[in-house]
Structures are given as C-alpha cells and as structure tokens.
Symmetry: C5
Subunit: 355 residues, 5 copies
C-alpha cells in the first residue's frame, strides 16, 4: 500500500526520460482502441501491436479517443507517444505508476494523472493509475487494467449516442472519464464508512484486541485515500480555472461540479479520520475503565478476605496456651468478629463508592 515509494529506486542513476514500466505487473497485453466520433458518425479500430501504430489513422476534425489498457508493452506506448509528439517525461510518468495525481500543461496538450481506487477483499484499498492526455481534438487514456475496465459505460454511451458526449468536444470526454473515476471513490468511501460504523458499535459494546488491529487498518486506509484524493482537488480546480483553449466554458461548469464531488470525498475522508481518531481514544478509555473496574473487584475481594483469612490462620496456630480456644463461645465469637470485620470493610467501600 506504501506504493509510491516502492520500487521507485529501480530507476536510481538512470538518465531522466528512460522508459521503464514501474508498478504491479499485469498478465494482460496492452490493448489500444481508437474511437473517432462526431455528432453524426463514429468509427472504431483496434491496434494489437506496436508495428501498427505508424499506420494508425489520425482523423483531422472529429474527436478521437485513444483508449489504452495495460502498460506492459513499453514499445507500443513509446510509438504512440512519438506519433502524437508527447514529451519523453510524459511517457515516463505514464509508465511509472507511482505518480501523485497531477496536471501538467504543455504547448498543445494537457497531461493529467489520476488514481482509480478499488476496495480489496481483505479490507484494504488498491489503487491503479489512470493517465489522460487532452489535446484540441483527441484524448489519450492509459489504464493499468489489472482490476477491470471502468470506461465500458462511457464507450457504450458514445456508441449508443446517449448523453451529451457525442455532441461535445474532447474536453467533455476527458471530463467524463474523470467523473467516472471520482464516482468510484464514493463506492470505496461508503464501504469504509460502513466498516467504521460497525467498528464504533464494537468498541463501545465489546472491545477486543482485534478492535485495535481493525482501527489501525482503517486508519491506514484513510491515510492512503487522503493521499490519493487531496492532490486531485487541486488538479481539478486548476483545470477549471485554466485559461486554455483546451477547456471550453460549458465544460468548465461540469468541472466545477466535479470539483464539488472531490471536495465532498475529501470531506468524507477527513470525517473518517476524525472519527477513527476518536474511536481509538474511546477504545483506550474503555479499556482503562474496564481495567479500573476489574481492579476494584479484585481489591474489594482481597481487602475483605485477607483479614478474615488472617484471623482464621491466627486461631489455627498450635500454641499450647491460647485461652480463647478453650472457651465454649470462642468459635461463635470468632465468627462474629469476622462478620464485623467484613461489614466494616464493605461499608468503607460503599463510602468510597467502589461498590
């Protein structure tokens, strides 16, 4: 989960701009779908190997979406990058999946890095990097493609002509892709919210050592989420405010809406963090209170029975001359004394509010 620092050192000492795929290895090949569309028409082609890239059609006027899934084929990505005149550092960042979300402005395109989040079965969260390149009439999207393809619904919408996508430019397509990623965050957040609520119940009702472990895990998740979502806020804000011909005014309104969603997600994460902190404090208080209660019981028992046992032992001694032992009413008197001692103790405890 500490992803961004891991295996990053592989590149230590290599010249900047060297293309190496850093990240979880996928067994999938790299698949490229090129979809060109306008209000009226739509064409789709699939590219299977890097040798096909040079002959790839670049439609001049309509919107073209290069939808790349899987980063294992470095050669293919280099070819695409060169064909579309991308800066070597952009290609390096696409392949190195330990980037933070960011936005970079180049002369005639924008480079955007985002994180797609998936809940894992063991309760932790997996992140995959999605890189977007937005040009005046094209969008490139790069997914790692390990845990599935989130862009199916958008491809369907384009093909069927539903929604506004077909009638608008490349910027609206890029917005749609980002929107679907941010929507996915809420799925992750809701799952986490449910886990936290279950945890809060447990802490108060029946704290066990497992609870600590669970709080720790959720805290880590919150730290991880925070790190993925916070920079995104700035990225989207800067896109919305960008004075660039690449983002049109109507799409800026949609980006403002997307910005609101991001802020909502951050809000939910911060709330989770605050609640988790509170939960740990509550857990600690709760355990200390229980220890205190247990100690009180122990002390009451010990304080009552220790003097009694001492008295019993005392009269169990084998001294020859112990006159009280000879007395007829010695035994009942001893029992009486013991009862008095026990009652005095218990009254004292009641006075101290320990009972």
């Amino acid at each position: 989960m500490n992803g961004s620092a891991t295996h990053r050192s592989v590149k230590s000492g290599l010249p900047p701009g060297t293309l190496i795929h850093i990240g979880e290895q996928s067994t999938h090949a790299t698949a490229v779908r090129v979809i060109s569309y306008s209000q009226e028409s739509i064409t789709e082609q699939q590219i299977g190997s890097s040798t096909e890239v040079p002959t790839m059609a670049l439609p001049p006027s309509a919107v073209t979406w290069y939808d790349i899934e899987g980063l294992s084929d470095v050669e293919m990505i280099r070819e695409i990058g060169e064909r579309l005149h991308l800066h070597p550092l952009v290609l390096e960042d696409i392949l190195n999946t330990s980037q933070r979300p960011k936005r970079e402005e180049y002369d005639n395109y924008l480079f955007i890095v985002l994180k797609m989040l998936y809940p894992r079965d063991n309760g932790s969260i997996a992140a995959e990097q999605v890189s977007l390149v937005l040009g005046p009439d094209f969008v490139l999207s790069f997914q790692e493609g390990i845990r599935g393809d989130l862009f199916i619904s958008i491809r369907d919408r384009i093909k069927s002509g539903k929604g506004r996508t077909r009638g608008m430019g490349a910027d609206y397509l890029a917005y749609s892709l980002m929107d679907i990623i941010v929507d996915q965050y809420f799925t992750v957040l809701e799952e986490m919210g449910e886990r936290i609520e279950a945890l809060e119940e447990k802490v108060v009702a029946k704290p066990t050592p497992m609870t600590t472990r669970e709080i720790h895990r959720l805290k880590r998740n919150a730290i991880f989420l925070r790190r993925a979502v916070w920079p995104l806020r700035e990225v989207i804000l800067s896109l919305e405010r960008l004075e660039s011909h690449l983002i049109s005014a109507p799409v800026a309104i949609y980006l403002r809406d997307l910005y609101d969603h991001t802020v909502q997600a951050i809000d939910a994460i911060e709330t989770s963090r605050d609640i988790l902190s509170g939960t740990l404090d509550t857990y600690l208080s709760s355990i200390n209170t229980r220890t205190n209660e247990i100690m009180r019981v122990l002390t009451v028992i010990a304080t009552v029975f220790m003097p009694l046992s001492f008295l019993a032992s005392l009269w169990g001694m084998n001294f020859k001359v112990m006159p009280e032992l000879e007395l007829r009413w010695g035994y009942p008197a001893a029992l009486g004394i013991m009862t008095v001692v026990a009652c005095v103790m218990l009254l004292w405890f009641r006075k101290r509010r320990w009972l």
Copy 2:
C-alpha cells in the same frame, strides 16, 4: 450521520446531469407555493402537480418566491427548473441532498446550498438540505420537508407586511431565509453546550463507562456540525463580497451581519471540540488516578496481611518439635510480633505517602 458518503454511489456510472433524488425519503408529496409580493400587493398560488407548472404565472416586476417543500416529485422539480431555465447540474444538486454548503454563480442567477440542522431525540443531529436560487426578481427555495417547515415565520411576516421584507428585493428575501437557518444553528449549539456542561460535571464527579460513550457521541456531533457550518462561512463571505447586480449594497450589510453569526457559530463549535478533547483527557487522567488509588489500597492491604498470614500459618505447622509453641507467653509474643510487623509496614507506607 455519515450522510454525504452514503448512497451517493447509486449514481456511479450514470451520465452527469441525471436527475435522481438521493437522500432520506419523505412521505410528503412535493408542495409548491408561489408568493408574489411588492410593497403594495401580495398574491399566493399553490401548485399540486407537475402538469400545472407550465401554466404557472411568472409575474414580471414584483418579487416572486417559489417555496418548494419535499423533493420526492422529481418530475415537478424538472418542470420548474426548465420553466425558469436552470442548468441541469443545478437540478441534480438540488435533488442530491449530500451536497456541501456552496454557492455557484450562473449568468443570471445564484445557486446556494445550505444545511438546516435539527437536534434528534437520541442526542444526535439531523441535517436537511435547503437549496436557494436567487434571480433578479425571484427566489426559489427547496426544503426536504421531513422535520417541518422553518419558513412559516417568514411567510407570515410577508403576508402581514411586518419587518422590512415587503419593501425590499429578492436578495433580502434570500438573506431572510439564510438568516433563519443560521439562527436555528444556535438552538442546536445551545443544546449541545448544555450536554457538554453536564458531561464535564460527571467526568469530574463520577466517571462511568457511559461517560466515554457520551463523549464519543458529542465528538461525532461536533465533527458533523463543523462539516455543515465551516463551508457556510465561505459561502456567505463570498456572497457579501460578490460584485453582482443580484446583491444590492444594503443587503450586503445584512449579509455581513449574517457572516458574523456564522463565525460565532464556528467559534462555538471549535470551542466545543476543544472542551470535548480536554474532557476526554480529563476522563482518562481521572480513571488512571482512580486505578492508582485502588491499587494503593490493594497493595497496602496485601502488604500488611501477607506477612501476618504467613506468620500465622508458620505457627500453625504441625512439626513435632517447635519449642516456641510450648512456651507460656508464646501466643502473646506471637501477637506482639505481628503487631510490630504491621506497624512497621504502615509506617513505611506513610513515609512513602501512600497513606
């Protein structure tokens, strides 16, 4: 209470601008009251179903207040939105009640989202979303309407002609609606303040495991309140400073006053948070101190009686040859030794300040 993250994922994958009501479901139908007023005259009409919307009168010059209560009738709200040329994203946000307080500027209207707060019986806090649309001569207000209608008093004031509302524009009406919402915050804050004060008393006087639970609940409330009120501050500040024909100079002075109230509310929330943090620390210290005290009693008792019991057991052994047992003054001597041991122990404790 973790509302904003809950059920938000229902929309995952749908195209932006799809209208779905997200939030607590109300059993009430959607009621629309259209009140047009000027200094001299006032008219009111009720609209019961979406088919009546197209024929709804739009008075040209006076101030018109469309007061909508209940969000269940999506069709009705769509109709109203279209009639008044609202952006689809505005309608989406009105229906999705997991928004943060925010302000958005459109060409000829302002869109404002606020949170109305209600204390629940179980001590937690319920929030309902209130959305306002402020145009040059109209105000739209959308309430969820689950826990009652806060705008009655304003409608009464308008009808009776009391206060300044009738003589001023739509901006003053919008201010009045926001003012009543912020006033309501203080009711919630005062109740919370009283709970905290009661809690502080308890923590010091008689901490119980219930106290932890109560602190945790109040902390959650404070986190929840904070999240509702903080963004409001920025919203109202930006309204006050907005250079727009929609807000007139005299109303800006009233907004400044409202801003002060919001800052007061934030202040009170932050103070509550600080005090609650302090209370938990005090509780923990208090419990630890009590445990320490109990341990001291236990230790004193054990340290005094363990050696005594040992001595008693010693002389209770059945060895044939134990000369001291035969002695006449053996028993009194044994009692004497025990007294000395006990006194030495107690003196040592007094020296250590444990008694």
Copy 3:
C-alpha cells in the same frame, strides 16, 4: 462561560434588527455621561432617562464622548442610536452581548466590539462586552457595567487635562479606551500564569485527583481567553491599516503599539495552552509511573510471601503420615528452606531491577 452560544436562540425567528438585550442582567440602571472637551474647555452632562435624549446637546466641533454604562434600558439606547443615525444592526449588536470582537466600517463611523475580562473568585474568567462607535468628532462607548467601570481613570485624565487626550481627536480617545481594556488582559493573564506555575509544582511533587480538575479548569480558561483575544488582533490590525479619515496618522502609531500588546497577550495565552497540555501529559505519566511503582511493591510482596505461605500451609496439613514432621530438625530445616526461597526471589527481583 460558553457565553456566545447561550440564550442566543431567544431571537430565533424574529426579524433581523429586532432590539432585545441578550446577556447577563444587571441591576443597575443605564447611565449616560456626555463629556465634550477640547484643549481649552470641558463640559459634562448626565442623562437619566430616554426622554432626555432628544434634547441632548450635540456640540458641533469639539470631541464628545457619550459614555453609556448598563444595557438594560433598551429604549434609551434606541433613542441614542436614532439621534446619532446608527444602523439598526449596530444597535442590535450592542445589545446582544454574545458578539465576537469585530470592527465594522459604516459611511461616517466605525463600530468596534471588544471584550473586557475580569478574573472571577472561583478561578474562572468573566467577560463583558464593550462596544465603541467612533465618528469624526464623537465616541460612543457602551459597557455592561456589571463588574465595575474601567473608564474612570480616563475620565479623570480628561478632566485633569493630564496626558495627551485633551489635545487630540476622537480617534485618540477610542484608542485610550481600547488600550485600557487590553491592559486589563494582562492582569487576567498574570493571575492565570501564577495558577499554572503553582499547578506545575503540584503535578511533579504531589499529584492528586484535584490536579486533573484544576488542569481542566485552566484549560477551559485558556480556550475562553483565546476566543476573546484572537479576533481582537485582527480588529486592531485592520484599524491601524484602515485608510479612513477617522484614524489620523499619529494615532495609527499608537494603534500599532496596541497591536503589539495584543500579540503579546496572544503569545502568553498560546504559551499557557502549550504548558497546560504538557502539564496534563506530565500528570498522566506521573500517575502511570506511580501505579507502576506500587505494582512493583505489590508484586514483590506477593511473590515472596505466597510461596512461603504455601509451604507453611503444606506442613500444616493433617495427613497421618508426614515423616518430615516427626524429625527433630524438621522445623529448623523448614525455616531454612523458606529463607532460601525468599532470598532467591529477592535476588531475582534485584536482577530484574525491580528493587
């Protein structure tokens, strides 16, 4: 102490600008002193009831100070406000004593709200609101007047002609009033500083449950102080930097000095908070250390005497056939074994550094 949230809700639902006195009720009547002075001359008149206000003289050129003490007579204050053309929201804020310190600029006067602080006998801090209105040639000051009148020394200085006040304008008078309020803060801070120092001694030397309570109380005081003084800093800074004809350049230098004092006060408050936090941590550590020490004693005692008592009980059993009991040197041998066991235990403790 949670003043600003208390009773604020009384106004919930009333139209803005309604005049109601919110705050601690004083038994004093409202007293108005009107002092007009210039370098050469000085006149003073007292106004006892609201009917006298309309005939109140408004000297055209010299500096006039309307010194109002007590806020119970709402009618009187409304009359004064109307006579001097104050905005209704200003009057509302003067009467509602739960304001935060603030500064508001109106067309021809400045409205300033401050908090006067008094140490209470029980160790907590009382706050009273002081409102100032600074016009080109007049100053209005409103005190709650419950715990005495701090402005006596300034009236004396004006009457006797000492100091710079008589030779300077209304802005210098307003500065003098603020200066005396800020000076008073240091009295409160010094008392608190002394309490904290005494507390630190106690925590280290002899922590008692009372200590927790005292730390909690001082922390609350620090939170309360912070809330009163922080906004003041901004108020005075903005006054100093205000480009207004109401503040002359020489007085701006004095305001800069006052600003320094406020920052010093904030500094002292923040230091107190830091030290109090540290003190609570120290207390907790100290208590835990003591518990640890006590446990060590208990464990040593129990570990030494439990095996010994067991042995004694063992040889106190009544089995017919226990050959060692018959032995002549049985008893001394038993005592020897017990001594060895005790010594081994003690050596083991010494090795573990528990002794």
Copy 4:
C-alpha cells in the same frame, strides 16, 4: 520564565507612553559608550550620568554607535531619546523588557527589538532584551546587562579595524550586533540538544519518575525558545526586504544570511519539540509495558500458588472424618496433585505466551 506576562500589569491604567522600567532589576548602573568611527579614524567617549547627555557630541558624517548597557537609569534613557528625537513609544518599549522581537519603521530610523538568550545553571533559559535603533549614520543599542556584555567582541573588532565593520555603514553595524545575538542561540540550542540526547538514552534504558520532570522542563524550554526565535524570523525577513535607504544592498545580502541562520535555529527548535513529544510517548509506552510485565509476573505467581495454598489449607482442616488423611500414601498423593496443578497452570501460561 513566563516573562512577558509578568509584572506587565504594573502599567495598567497609566497613560500610554509613561516611562517605567519593567523587567529584572540589575544592580549595575546604566553605562553609555559613544563610539564614532570611519574607515580612517575612531573616537570613544563614556557618559556616566544623564546630565552629560545634552552636551554629548553628535558627529555629523561618520558612523556613531551609542552602546547603552543597563536600563535602570530611566532619566538617562529619556534624555538620550529626546536628544535623538525618538518617539515616546519607542522609549517605552526599550524600558519594558517584556516585548516580543519586532521591527518598527519610523520616518528616519528603524526600531528593532531582539531577545538575547543565556543558559541558566538549573537547565532553564534566561532571556534579556536587546533594543536597536538604526538611523542613517548612527546605531543605538540597549542591553539589560545582567548576565554580561556580548558586544565586547564587536567593539574589539571596530577598535582593531579587523573585519569589514569600519569600512561599512551603520546598517552593517546593526547587522553585526544581530548576528552575534543569533550566534548565541546556537550555544543554547546545542546545550539543549545534548540534554535531549542524554534524556532519550535514559528513557529507553532506565525510566524513572525524574525523567518525566526532565521532559517537562525541556519542553518548557523549547516553548520558551520558540517564542523568542519565531518572531525574529519575520523581523529579519522584513528588514532584508525593506525598501529603505537605511539598509544598503550589500548589507541586505548579509541579512539574508542571518535569516538563514534564524531559520536553522527554528528548525532545530521544532525538531527538538518533535523529539521531546516522541520521548514522552516513548516514556509512557515504556512504563505501561513495564507495568504489564510486572502484572504478568504477579498473575503467574498468584495463579500458581493460590490453588496450591487452597489445597494445603483444605487438608489442614480439622474435620473428624477426613478419610484421605488416614491413608499411607495420602501425603505423597497430595504432593503429586499439587505438582500436576502447578504444571497445568504453567503450561497454560506458556500457551498464552505469558512466560
């Protein structure tokens, strides 16, 4: 150590600008040295009483340094202030040694307040105020002079003509004085760093109650240092960036260097604070771990011996009819049972990893 709040209240109620010496009283008289120097020549005169001030020579062109040590002679300082046309508030601040570090710009001079720090023998830190007034061709420096005179080395450098001072203006002299004060901070910081390192060793190796006290003391020192050094950063930054004829461009480069030193000092202080916080946490964890260990020993001992003692007592009962006591192998069997019980207990503990 809580200096800035102490005795400040002496002035409460006095008119602004009243000259009273607030601070630690020194037994030294106030000594004034007037050193005028240029690249070529140098003159020095001593002034012993306030009556000599009016006749004090004010050399027109060279740099003149008025080096005042000791603040007890208020009259002398007033005379100097008037002779050099200083603002009354400047004189008030020089005499009131509870100032924060600050910089004030007047028409033809700059007023700078700094704090000189000295380590005290008991481990705490003493602060003395140093005030500088920088004019176009003169520098006034005021030291409290209680713990010695730090400016000797600079006077020596000027007299001997070493270093750059003689060849440069008054601004370089002021820089040199500030530089020597900041250099002194590192002496204090290094001593504190060594104390912290020693403490860290102790916390891990052998925590004692004294450790808590030491951590608390060092934390207080860090708070105190922070308060002295943080505002200095801003002071020096603003001097460096000041667009004034009083600071020449070459000296601004030296001030930038001084600014770096201040930031380094702040860095070291913040690091110390972080480490001390960590140390306290480590201490608390360490103590809790030890308590846990002790408890484990106690529990093992008690759990093993309590059942054994019970069995021994059981067979020590005096019932007439206890058949097992009559048996020949009764005693060995009893010992056997006891051994089994003990072994079962120990195995159970080993399984639970308590042994």
Copy 5:
C-alpha cells in the same frame, strides 16, 4: 543526527564570512576535477593542491563542471571561490555543512544547497551536504565525500556521450546532479518503508519493549528526513519559476518533473509519520488490552480461591468447640459448600463477560 545545531557554536563571535569547515571530518583530501564539454569535445583535468588553482584553465564557451569532493582543504576552496568571484558568504555556507537546503540568487550565478542521504547500518540516516553553484556556462559541485561519490554515473554519461547532457547547457547538468540526489532519497525511503511494515506486523503480533525503542528510532528518522526534504521542495519550485537567463525553458520542464519527485518523497515521509503515530497508538492500546486481560485472569483466580481458602482456614481453626467438625458428613458438606461458592463466582464472571 541533530546535526545542524551541533558544533555550529564554534563560530560564535567570529566576524561573518570567516571560512571554517564545520561538519564531519573526512580523512580524504580535497579532489577537484574540471570537466569541460560540448556536443563535440570533452576535456578533463585534475587539480591536487590549492597552488594549481590560479593556473586553472577557464574555457570561455563550452560547459565546465568543477567537481569538488571533500571539504577539508579550506585553502583550496577559498582559491577556487576567488578565481570564480564567489561571494564570501557562499564559501562560508559551502564549508559549514549544517545548512538547510536553500537557493540563493546572485548577480551572475545561483547558489544551491542540497542534502544527500545515506542509510546507516544501525538503521539511522546520515546526511551529507552537496552545494552547487550554477553560472551561465559552468557548474561547481561540492560534496563532503565521506560515504562515496554519487556523481560517477553522471561523469560516465558525459564521457560516453549518452543521454542528453552533452547537447545541453550548464543548467541541465545542475538538474542532473539534483536529480541523482533526489533519486537517492527513494532508496532511503524504501528501506524505511520496509522497516515500518515489519514493525507494524510485530506490534500486532507480539509487542515487546524493543518495539517502543524501534518506533522511537523510526520516528526520529522521519523527523530527520522531513527536515532534509521539505525545504528542498521550495528550492526546486523556486528554481523552476525563476525568471533568470540561467535556467532555460526546456530545463524548467525537467525541473518540474524533479519537483514532482520531491513532492512524492514528501508525501511518502508524511505517510510514514502518520503510520508511525498510528503504530505507537496501536502499541499502547495493545499493551493496555493485554494488561486488562492479565488483570482479568488474576482477578478471576483470586476471587475464586480467596473465599475457598478462607473457608478451609476457618475449619482449620483449633477452637475446642466447633460442632460441625465432629459431624460425619461435615467434610463432604464443606467440600460441597466450597464447590457452590466457586460456581457462583464463575457464573457471576460469565455474566460480567470476564470469562
């Protein structure tokens, strides 16, 4: 590790600009390599002593890299500094290795200070200072050279003509040097990440007193790293945004990439800090939970056996008249009573959920 504050005081009292080497002493001599290169040609010369500096060739047009390793030869560094007209304060900062990362702009060169980090064998982190001076056609680099030479790979790249370095200016060379330093951070961070993950496992599975010590050490490392890397972020950002002829536009893009790496490193450090804080909390909770569990066992054992032992002692008393002892079924009845008492206790514990 508290490096920046250590031995800094050696210079206290010396005039500014005095050249003294402050830092870890190396046994290596100072080695100077002068490498001049352009796209077509490359020359390299070695300088062994300060007397060779004045005759050192200064090639007019190509890029020249003065690569200095080891700071012990102060004279040599002074000579180089004078030859290249560096400001005395720059030389002072190069020799004083307790600098924070910073950037300073001089008329015709930039001075940059960075920290190179190395993991030490004992788990702590060592820092060495690297200073760069970037002129229009030259770069000076100063390494401490204690733990090896990181610039070998760059020299190799230049000599072999691989990568872009030969074809670009001095700014690209400076960027390459900084890039290699930042890359090294990730090696340190990855090692730390692995240690933290191992620690988290241990805290949950088997917390020992050693764990506290390890957490403390890692926390110190995180503080140390933070202090080295945070200021670097600002340094690189300001270089990227610098409007200077010294940084060309294409290199600014590379600097933006470097900035991203620095932010990634900071991100990883902050995450580590957050996780370590959480780990300590988890450790503390875990220990407290274990103590609670142990106490529960102790209390159960004591509460069951203390009354039983008391009863056994009771019937072991030697009173003459104890009628129940004479009874035939006395002993079985006694055993029965004991069993009942034990069962009642155990049921009570089960009800309280202690078993």
